[in-house]
Every structure is written in C-alpha cells, then in structure tokens.
Amino acid sequence: MSGPRGVTVEVDQLLLVLVSGVASGAIYGLMGLGLVIIYRATDVVNFAITSLATLGLYVAITFRDDGVAMVVSVIAAIAVTALAGVIVREAVIRPLGQGQLFSALVVTMGVSLIAESVVNSVWGTQPRTFPSLVNGTVRWGDAALPAQSLLTIGIAAVAMAAVAFLFSRTTLGSAMRAVAESADTAKIIGINAQRVARIAWALGLALAALAACLYAPRSGLAPTVLAAPLFRAFAGIFLGGLTSMYGAVIGGLTVGVLENIAASYVSASFRDTFVFSFTVLVLLIRPQGLFGTRTFQRV
C-alpha cells in the first residue's frame, strides 16, 4: 500500500465507498422523507411503511415474472403500495382520532405484522433476486462505478426534487404545510384535513415503494428485507429532525455514507452500532435533531 499506485487504489476505493454510501443514503432519505411527510400531516410515525412497500415489491416481481417491463412493474409497485397506505389510514388509523401519537404507532406495528405475514403466506419466505433496472459499471477515472448505484442516486434526486417542487411551488403543497403547522387553524379556514391526510399517506408510501425498488436489487427480495433500511431511515430522520423534510434527506444521506464507511473501514458486523452510536451522540448534544424544531411531547 505504499507509493503512488497504492494511493490511487485507495482513492478509487474511497470513491466507490462514497458512491455506494450516497446511493444507500438516497434510499434511506427517500424512506425518511415518506415517514416525515406522513408524520407532519397526520402525527403518525408509520412503522408499517416498509412492510407495505414489501407488498409492492412482490407485486412488481409477479408482474415481471409475467413478462411485464421492469419500469411498468416498478410503477405498479408504487401504485399498489400507495393504495394500500390509503386503505390502512382510512381503515385503522382514522378511527383512532386525532393526537393518538403512541396508539397510532402501535397500530402501524400491528399492520406491519399482518402485512409481513400476508407476504409470507402468498409468496413464501424463499429469498429471490430482484432485477436491477440497469446493469454494468460506469468508468470514472480508474474506478468502475456500478451503474445501478448511479441510477439510484439519479432517480432519488429527481423524486426529491419533485417533492420539493410540490411542497414549495404548488397550492396543494402549501395546504399540506399549513396542516403540518397548525391543524386547528387549517380546520378553521376550511382545509379538508382528511383529504390532505390521504394525500400525505399515498405520497409517503409511494416514496417508500420507490426506495424499496431501488434497494431490492442489491439485497435480493425476502419478506423482511426492508427492516434494516427502515431502521436506518429512522436513524436518519431522528438525526435530521422528525419534522424537517430537508433533515430527512440529509440525515438519510449521512447515515448511508457513515454506514458504508464503517462497513469498509471499521467492521462489517458493527455497521449499525457505528451509525446508531453516532446518531445518539448527536441527539445528546442537539435533542431536536439537526433541523428539527423544539416541540417535545411526552405520552
């Protein structure tokens, strides 16, 4: 590892780790964004977001097995997941009423158990592969970067830009931010909070399904495969601040990069220890997260 040649190899290696870290981070960021959108609009921490996305993944792979184009299958996955989300919200979250932060969280845990079990019994627990949208590598200098990682980063960036556009440039987005800031005032001026809630759930789950379709090619497909990225997305949104959409993305990216660095340079077995210790340390210094506002609630 000495001499100029060794340094180049190390730099290439670092570049690879960073690209793969940003790609993972983009996935966590998308999931986190979905969680934050739902949380801001309805005060629900949606633990079922990835279980429902898993359902979408299996729908996609079924379509794909029937010979449907991969892009169409992914769109189907997103649509099915979003629809499932709206159904869950109408059927089991809405009856709970407003402000049931903890009950709602536990209900989504129940939904998650059921969704995973349904996937188990319909499609079985046998791991399968999930096809990439693209294959091969892209050469950049001496490094060969996986095309799927670059595509992941690209798609996630487009999706995030679309969300940013929705929230900052459209009236619907303003209405969603209004509900997030004060549900009471939104009600007084006549915003239909239920409609906003449904849109938020559909959007949040669509983002999670997209993230899942980008994650699955690397991990393969099994009923609980999305548990790990969900926990890292949680770490990301806590890091970024539970109520901040920018925070969710930046937190997710930080977690993704840290995790890949830890896996490559520290120990692959302690990647979560590394990520979570970092998150907890940051929170001890800044309890509201990097971008969050200080509104604490004890249940």
Partner: protein, 851 residues
C-alpha cells in the same frame, strides 16, 4: 410504602397464585407440556410488567428490553458453564441490566417519547451485533447451552429445562407481582405518574421529573434481566433469535393489550405472549396476523387495554347505588361533606388585622420580556399574611405572567426586578423548591393528575407517605367535600369537583402563600360560593392569597384589596367597592373611545345568520346558555364581554366550525345560495412558516378555488392589502408585525369571498395606532356592504364601531341594544361587570356569602 390491609391482601395474591400453580404442576393436574408454557408465561409476564409499568408510570416506552432479557439469559448460560452459583448469575444479570438501564434512562430523560424509543431501538440493535460477534460467550448465532445452576444458599440445584426451573419461574413471578402491588401504593409511583402526566404542574407541587426516569428505567431493566436468567433456566438454550427487535415490538403489543400500567394487565399480556402461537395454530391463521388483528382491535375499541376496560365495567356496575356521578353539566348536590367548621368560618368582620404585619410577598419593579414582547413592565405589589389580594385586568394585561413568575413556572423570558418572599429573594429559586417554601398554586383549568385518584393527587406532594399523611389527606378531602370520591379518578368527576381537588392539592401542606388562577371560572353559583368559603377560611388561618379572575363580583366579595393591571403594570389599586370607580381602571375594561365611526345606513332586513337558543359546553364546563342573536345582512354587530364570557365560542358557532351542544344556527340565503361566513380567529393564527402569498393561497384552496380563478382571486385580495404588505408577498408571515399580521389574517378570511366576516378580538395585543388602522379597514369593509360580527373586549370600541351591541356575561346575553342609543351605554356597562350584581357591589359584604 404503606402496608395496608387491602394492599397486603392484593399483594399476597401473587405468591399464592404462584404456589397454587406449582402445586397443580407438581400433581400433574397441569400436564408437563403445558407446564412449560405456564413457566414461559410467568417469565414473559415479568418482562411485560417491567416494560408496562415503566411506560405507565414514567411514560417511557422501551423497545430495548429484549437486550436486558438477553443479558440475563447469557448470564445464566455463562454461569452454568463456569460453575457459578445461581445467586451470582442472578446478581450479575440484575446489576449489569440495572446499570445499563440507569444509563439509558439518564440519557433518555431529556428526550421525548419517540426519541427514547429510537434510543432503545439503537441499544437493541447494538446488543444484537455484540451478541453475534462475541462468540466466546454467546456462541454467536449457533447459540449456547444452559446446563444447570446450583444455589449457594442451599436451595439445591436447578437443572435447566426441568420442573424445578419451572417452579422457580412461577414463584419468582408471583413475588415480583407482590412487589409491584406494593410499589403501586408508594409515593414514588404517584410522583412518577404525576411528573409524566403534567411535568409543569408537577414542578409546582415540588416534583422534579428528570431524576426519576433514570431510577425507574434501572429498576425495570433489572427485573427484565432477572427474567432473562429464568428464561435461560427453563429453556436450557439461548440463541440470539429470541431477542430480536420483533420481541421488543411484541412485548409492547402485549403491554398495550393487557393495559399499560396495570399489574393484572401484565399477567394478561404475559399469558398472551406465551400462548399466542398456540391460539394462532388452533384457528389456523398465521400468528402475526392474530397478533396484529388483536392489537389493532384492542387499540381502536378498548384504548386502555383489556384489564382496565373490564375493571371500569365492574366498578361502574358496583357504583350503581352510590352517589350519582354527574357527567356533562356540573350540578353538585348542594350539601358538600363539610365537616362542620365550614359553616363557622370566620365572618368577614372578624378579619385578622393584617395591616400591621410584614408583607410576605413583595414584588418590586418586576419586568418580564418574551422576545420582543413586554409582558410585565415595572410591576410592584405586596401581600401580607392573612390578606386576600385580587388582581384584575383585561386580557393580555400581564396577570398570568405575574403569578407564573411567583410560582417559578416561566421559561424563555428575560426577568428583571425583585421578588422577595418572607424576606428572602425568590428569583432563581427552582419551581420545585418553592413548594417547600410554602407557595401553593391552583390552575385555571384545574390541572390535576388524571392518572392518579383523588386522594393520590393530594398525597403525591409528599416524598414518602406515612399513615399520618394519609389521615391528614383524608381530613383535607373531608374539609373540601371530596371524601366521597377519594378513590375515584378525576375524569369521572364534574369540573367543579376537579377544581376543588386542584385547590385541595394546593392546600395540602398548608401553604403560607396561595396563588389562584381564575378559581371561579367555569363554576356554577353553588360551587363559586364553596370556593369563596375556602378562601375566607384560608385567610382566617393567616394564609396570604393572591387571586386573578374575571368573575369580578365573586372576586370582590372575598378580596381585601384589588390591584388592576393593564399593559404589564398596575394602573390602580383600592377597595373592592371602589376600584371600578377609578376612571383608568374602568377604561382598561371598557375603553374610552368617543368618536363614532361612520357606518353605512341599513335598509335591508334580511337575516343572514340566526342563532336560536344556543348553548355550549366543553366537557363539564358550560360556556354558553340560551343565546339568541339575529345577524342582519349588512349589519355590524358587536359581541362584547370580559375574557371567558363566551365570545369566541359564540363566534365559532356563528362561523359553523363549532357545533353547539344545544339550540340551532339557521343560515339564510341570498342570490340562491346560503350566506358564507369567514372567521378571523383570535390571535391571528396565521401560518407563520408560510409566505404571505401562501397564506392567502391556502385559504382560496380551502374554499375550493383552483387554477386561474385562484390566481385572479389572489391578485384581487392583494390589492386590498396596504402597499407595504403588497411588496412583501413572498416573505414568511412570521416576519410581519402584529398589526400587519392582523390585516393579513383579515385578507385571508376575505379569500373565500364571505358574506359575513367574524372577527375575534382583532385589537388584541396591538399598539393603539395599529388598532386604529385595523379598525379603519374593518369599517371600510362594512361600508362596502360586508356583514360583520365583531367579538370585542372593549365596550366603548364596540359601541363606536357597530350598529348593534350584545353584551355577554358568563355565557348569557346580559344586555343588547342599538349602539347609537346613549342610554344603552350605561346598562351595557352594568351588564359587562355582572348585571345586577355590579350595582350591588358597593353595598355587598362577604357576610352575604356565608348566609
């Protein structure tokens, strides 16, 4: 910890049931394959109890308990491999779990519930990684065998997987439950629950929440570690799969299922955990589906869990013959269980001579700033022992800020000036310490601890509860007429009794200074009389009492001296009978505006909105009674009243965003469609993070306008805004001054093109020049033909800017008339201060209360 007969009996139930189960297992009445499940249920029940009581008492939800469970199990495995005695394995497990738990509790105490969940989740994930790597002790994912543990104390040898291990688990669970039952009656638990339910109020009774989280987390973790040792012993094999995150989720499910914070609920939860797989098999549905469906069903239909639900059912049926529980309206049977001395409370003429005693509380030049807002500016006053000082003043005068400074419940403010109590400086003393100095406090909305019974609410002010304390508490409850409901939960009581409890809690340690925030608000005449009696009695005992309230006649009947506040400082003081004669005090309530605004002539007598016999109550608190009001098209109607008179409630009912509890609101029609109302809420309620344009846009969106129509409407409304706002449409609303925010709030309401505009105290918190500007704009709208309902605190302003004025007093229409009628002004003034009562103020004496 108090050993009373009832909790001894309850506690002994645990070990007794344990022994019975052991006997049944031993005699094979419970077959061997079931005996294992029983033991497993016992172990799980300990874990569920640890997690559930931590959540129920401290409000801390942990998903990290599988890690403590694992610590215990691996201690059993390691101990059995290294010939440790049983006791050492248990000690090691309990000590290390306890230490880890204390650390987590300490680190997590400053976080909200979701963050603690993440912290414990992280802890779980990290321990799983450690378990998988530390193969020399844990065997990695291959697992490790537990053979047997011998007792050093001569309890024999416990081979793993055998009956002895099962008996041990069942008996241990019984003992743990007995401990939990005793813990339930300790002051520690009451203080934990109090701190969880209402951290701020808990400080006012001397409880500091932070330190207790670490302690309770440590104890909970230690018990789970102990359960882990038992698990190792009964299964004989330990592998990481057992302690997955799924277990953490399932334990929480079991807690919620049985009932959080309930000891019996934990048993139900443990049984559910141990048998859920069997049940799922029996109905041939996958186990997670059974769990998920059960969980969702319980949360939606029995939000408190199974056991509390059954408990409440049985309590209700037991109480059918008991005293009637009044829900909704708060009519209390006239005779409270007064213990005699109430009737002989010191008559007013025998007031202790207070003038010669040194003041107990002296406030000198006190100023409080919140950001750019001056809540108090150089306020000074003094109270002597045995004196009742009333503080009055309009909304926003700084009254609540003042009492919060004295009770130490103020944060994020810059405070200057001196507050001396009993000759020593009070500023800088922690809120929790002020209780010990003898400062008690009651709250406007009776902030009592809803998860504690009535008697526990009074007891939790003490660190340890002795038998004498209980007797004293019982006496206090008898004195305040709460003895009959001592073991009930506050939510089952009408609001009047809740306020009595709030007062009883404040009086529990016989404070030298009692601060009361609106003690009469929301009470009916009987309750108000009882409250007044309590205050008179406290004064007779030499307590200094400071009261702020808007119910002036009751207040003046008990007060020795009245200080009137406005704009953050005293503007006058004097005898209750004389204070309202002070012109400055008068005008702080009524205003002093002389010039009438030019109003449009009214020709059309179409009624836009008709309110008929409308009443409303929030929970048990009545806000409006039998209000009738016709809002004619093109009219400007003023609804005037002091704070709490029911203005905002009426406004929201007229607007249609609040459904009245009784009566009806008829909305007329014109141009073939109903009249549209828009509300400008009190305090503006803008979306502060949204820009000016977005605030308007969102209102248009809410009114169902889209696309180019919305843009056109936006441009039109922007034209209405003053020039200095029109140029700043993309600035966030938080950056506007108060007056600008008010104008924007009106513009936002105009986006829906309303026919009727309802304005809730548009002048609140604005400087006089800005008030004039806002009112000029409102007047312009009226002249352009808008129908306006103006909810106002200042009578004179309503009289000068409205066609008609309605005066509300305690939720009733006390006067109504044409604003231009000069004779109406006087009757409206009387009505404002309390109708007939106000005219009697000069002649009225406290002795009337005692009659």
């Amino acid at each position: 910890m108090v050993f009373t007969r009832s909790n001894l009996a309850k506690a002994s139930l645990g070990p007794v049931v344990g022994l019975v189960l052991i006997a049944l297992m031993h005699s094979a009445a419970i077959p061997a394959y079931q005996a294992y499940s029983v033991a497993l249920a016992a172990v799980y029940a300990i874990v569920v109890l640890s997690v559930g009581l931590l959540a129920g008492w401290s409000g801390v939800w942990s998903v990290g308990h599988p890690a403590f469970f694992a610590v215990g199990a691996y201690f059993a495995a390691y101990g059995s491999g290294h010939q440790w005695p049983l006791e050492l394995a248990i000690l090691g497990a309990v000590a290390s779990s306890g230490l880890l738990g204390a650390f987590l509790g300490y680190a997590g105490a400053r976080f909200s519930v979701l963050y603690i969940a993440l912290l414990t989740l992280a802890f779980s994930l990290v321990s799983l990684e450690v378990i998988n790597r530390w193969t020399s002790v844990t065997g990695g994912d291959q697992g490790v065998v537990v053979s047997q543990l011998d007792s050093a104390l001569g309890l024999g040898s416990i081979p793993s997987g055998g009956s002895e291990a099962q008996y041990l688990a069942v008996l241990a669970a019984g003992v743990v439950f007995a401990i939990a039952v005793f813990a339930k009656s300790t002051a520690l638990r009451m203080r934990l629950v109090a701190a969880k339910a209402h951290p701020l109020v808990a400080r006012s009774v001397g409880i500091a929440p932070e330190a207790q989280t670490a302690l309770s987390f440590a104890v909970s973790a230690a018990f789970t570690g102990f359960a882990g040792v038992l698990l190792g012993l009964i299964t004989g094999f330990v592998s990481p799969d057992t302690f997955s995150l799924n277990l953490g989720v399932t334990i929480i499910a079991a807690c919620v299922f049985g009932g959080v914070g309930s000891v019996v609920g934990a048993v139900v939860g443990g049984v559910y955990l141990a048998w859920a797989p069997t049940v799922a098999d029996a109905v041939s549905v996958p186990q997670p589906v059974v769990q998920g469906v059960l969980l969702i069903t319980v949360l939606i239909f029995l939000p408190g869990g199974v056991v509390p639900f059954v408990g409440a059912l049985s309590r209700r049926s037991l109480r059918m013959r008991g005293p009637r529980v009044v829900d909704g309206e708060h009519h209390v049977s006239a005779a409270p269980a007064d213990s005699g001395d109430g009737a002989s409370a010191a008559p007013a003429t025998d007031r202790p001579a207070t003038a010669d005693r040194a003041p107990l509380l002296v406030v000198d030049g006190l100023s409080v700033r919140f950001g750019g807002l001056n809540a108090l500016e150089g306020a000074s006053l003094a109270v002597r022992p045995g004196e009742v000082l009333a503080i009055i003043g309009p909304n926003g005068a700084g009254k609540t800020t003042l009492v919060n400074v004295v009770s130490g419940l103020i944060g994020g403010a810059r405070i200057s000036g001196a507050v001396d109590y009993a000759g020593a400086k009070l500023t800088g003393t922690r809120a929790t310490a002020r209780r010990r100095l003898g400062i008690g406090r009651t709250f406007q909305h009776a902030e009592i601890f809803s998860e504690l019974t009535v008697v526990e609410n009074v007891l939790c002010t003490r660190r340890r509860v002795s038998v004498a304390d209980r007797t004293q508490a019982d006496e206090l409850l008898a004195r305040t007429g709460l003895a009959d409901v001592a073991d009930r939960y506050p939510a089952e009581l009408p609001f009047g009794l809740q306020k009595r409890l709030d007062l009883a809690r404040a009086m529990a340690e016989e404070p030298k200074l009692l601060i009361m925030d609106e003690p009469f608000g929301g009470l009916d005449a009987t309750e108000r009389r009882l409250t007044a009696q309590q205050i008179v009695r406290l004064r007779a005992q030499g307590t200094a009492v400071v009261i702020i309230d808007h119910v002036l006649d009751d207040l003046f009947a008990v007060a020795d001296r009245v200080v009137a506040f406005d704009f953050g400082k005293p503007i006058g003081s004097g005898d209750p009978g004389a204070i309202l004669q002070d012109p400055q005090v008068r005008s702080s309530y009524l205003g002093s505006i002389a010039t009438r605004a030019e109003l449009p002539a009214r020709g059309d007598d179409t009624v836009a909105i008709a309110v008929r016999d409308v009443g409303h109550h929030y929970g048990g608190v009545a806000a409006l009674h039998g209000v009738d009001l016709d809002i004619g098209k093109g009219a400007v109607i003023g609804v005037v009243g002091a704070n709490g008179a029911g203005k905002s409630t009426l406004g929201r009912i007229i607007h249609g965003s609040l459904r009245p509890s009784s009566g009806q609101v008829r909305v007329g029609e014109h141009y073939g469609r109903p009249f549209r109302g828009s509300l400008v809420p009190e305090g503006r309620a803008l979306f502060k993070t949204l820009s000016l344009r977005e605030n308007l846009e969102v209102a248009g969106y809410a009114a169902g306008i889209r696309g180019s129509d919305l843009r056109a409407r936006l441009d039109e409304t922007a034209e209405w805004l003053p020039e200095r706002l029109r140029g700043r449409l993309s600035v966030a609303a938080a950056g506007l001054s108060g007056g600008e925010q008010q104008i924007l709030a009106v513009a936002r309401a105009l986006m829906a093109r309303p026919d009727v505009l309802i304005l809730d105290e548009p002048a609140l918190g604005l400087a006089p020049a800005l008030v004039d500007e806002v009112y000029a704009r409102i007047n312009q709208l009226a002249r352009d033909g808008m129908t306006i309902v103006l909810l106002e605190q200042l009578l004179s302003r309503a009289l000068t800017s409205c066609h008609q004025v309605v005066v509300l007093h305690e939720g009733r229409v006390a006067a109504r008339g044409e604003a231009s009628d000069p004779s109406f002004a006087e009757s409206a003034e009387l009505a404002y201060f309390g109708g007939e009562a106000a005219s009697l103020l000069n002649t009225r004496d406290v002795s009337e209360l005692e009659a």
